[in-house]
Symmetry: C2
Subunit: 333 residues, 2 copies
């Protein structure tokens, strides 16, 4: 950097336009009470100097930053990335800048990312797929930072998530409608805990609702060795519900590698509605989440709490998912 280089400050603008810095500030903030003449002069000076206000200085005096943080499990995961993109979009439209922290689901990374956000004094934080580490949460609580949980929840924070029970219900209903009676459920160890539990519980309930008996051995919480153990011998499920589209897609790989065809031998329903599920080569029947609505409401909830204060009781929004029928499910033969 050229050693003499210094960004123009509000004082430079004031000097050039021959007014005081408060007047410059008033003009720039649109505070009113300035004559059209001086406004012109100030604006001209801003232009010629290429002046741009320093957010740090403003943040310091205003005690707010117009920054929000987003903590995400894995940006390489299509659903997460899509959500982050939409959150950034809505936040930006309302004048907030977004800081993203990717945690890879590791609590220690989560803690350090959140620590960084708090040093920046972000006005609020959106937690996608939060691991639920108590220490981290209590820290947030102690700092009285507005938080919105997306796609997961806790009773002491605002949250917006898809209605997991309704979603899983749709999936099971769809399969039962196709004549399936032996239905399994596949989850994954590295998955946000509340959602994981909710979907698994919803699955059991849905089966019972249809007069079917949930079978523990068809509900592995890990898809890794799933095919070998469940499809080895004995009675096998004719249909599967996967906790997420990601799991479903991996499952297709594993099933087909083991010589089982989808949907001929096994029908499969995913959950989320990621883009690649729509490819004709994948054609994944799935429970689609209303991603943009999720993002919109998350931002609305968060900014509401930021701008209107903390007092109100936590709000828990549940959005309705929709069944998207594609080629991975078929009538039981």
């Amino acid at each position: 950097m050229t050693s003499a280089f210094r960004r123009p400050t509000i004082l430079d603008v004031a000097a050039l336009s021959g007014v005081s810095k408060s007047t410059v500030s008033n003009v720039l903030r649109g505070a009113g009470g300035t004559s059209a003449q001086t406004r012109e002069r100030v604006l001209a000076a801003v232009q010629t100097l290429g002046y741009r206000p320093n957010a740090a200085a403003r943040n310091l005096v205003q005690r707010r930053t117009n920054l929000i943080g987003v903590i995400v499990w894995d940006l390489a995961n299509a659903f997460d990335a899509d959500l982050v993109k939409r959150i950034e979009h809505h936040a930006s439209a309302r004048g907030y800048t977004t800081i993203v922290g990717n945690t890879a689901g590791r609590p220690e990374l989560e803690a350090s990312r959140i620590e960084a956000l708090l040093e920046q004094r972000v006005d609020g934080i959106a937690l996608l797929d939060f691991t639920g580490d108590r220490a981290v949460l209590s820290r947030l609580f102690a700092d009285r930072v507005p938080v919105v949980m997306v796609s997961c929840w806790a009773d002491y924070a605002d949250s917006v998530a898809v209605d997991d029970q309704a979603g899983i219900g749709l999936a099971v209903e769809h399969l039962v409608g196709l004549g399936h009676e032996r239905i399994g459920y596949v989850s994954q160890p590295f998955m946000e805990a509340t959602t994981k539990r909710a979907r698994a519980a919803a699955f059991e309930r849905a089966l019972l609702h249809h007069g079917l008996r949930p079978r523990g051995e068809w509900m592995p919480s890990d898809d890794a060795d799933f095919v070998g153990s469940v499809f080895g011998d004995g009675e096998r499920p004719t249909a599967l519900v996967a906790a997420t589209d990601h799991i479903a897609v991996r499952l297709i790989e594993r099933l087909e590698a083991a010589g089982l065809a989808v949907p001929r031998d096994v029908s499969l329903v995913g959950f989320d509605g990621i883009a690649i599920g729509a490819l004709s080569r994948i054609a994944l029947t799935t429970i689609a989440q209303p991603a943009d609505e999720l993002a919109r409401q998350a931002v609305a909830l968060l900014l509401n709490r930021i701008e209107r204060g903390h007092d109100a009781a936590p709000e828990q929004r549940r959005l309705s998912p929709a069944l998207v029928r594609r080629g991975s499910t078929a009538a039981r033969i």
Copy 2:
């Protein structure tokens, strides 16, 4: 917010531990020159108060923020998202916090996102797939903000990108090796310009190198109506190179919808190496970019310029891509 709530400041810590705020600052920054005793007392006070330094105040006096900005075309695009994730990771490891701006390739959004970054006084900016709007770039230049371009380039900025020519060369060589002579190239209108041009030019060169004649009608810059026009009648290509994996995946859809099988009727090579290409149902032969190396070097270049100054001439790094053979290419019948 409880009206009486105020975050503890360095003064509170100083008061509680009975020292001056400079001493607190010295302890916290590890500046040395403090006795073990006072250190203990200060640290204890920090602990009990839950004190956390205010980045805005620090930024203001230090005139640097330890913030970097990342401008990305589309986080919903797997390759971009993966890159952002890795950049955030490397930056975080070196003490920098990342602000992401998604631009959807729209120059006006790009400008406003960059404007926001500059107000935050980010120490540097990584531009992924920059649209190349001159006004925006000159603004950056005027502000003397360190910039690194990733996967695209300009001669006046540091950049790190894959060697497009080598990559396309590998693709063509692979196809020629399989006996193909009528090879087409498919691009897309909404794509970062320098990369787009470079890959197209490299394609022509590669064909010439193998003694083949590039044919304009087989090089649409838009994949939308590609299948109809090129595979309608007359002589058709037996193999295609796609400018990106995304395009390749879409092309598979369109080709198969038109009754053409991949690779039976057409062989197809993509570019990028996104994860879904590895699924057995997709099995996309592709030119894989070294994504993590790209991210690592981008961060290294950027932080180097930030921490060591602007003087050095722009550095242009070109990384080698690798051919990944999968099922979308086959010998010409």
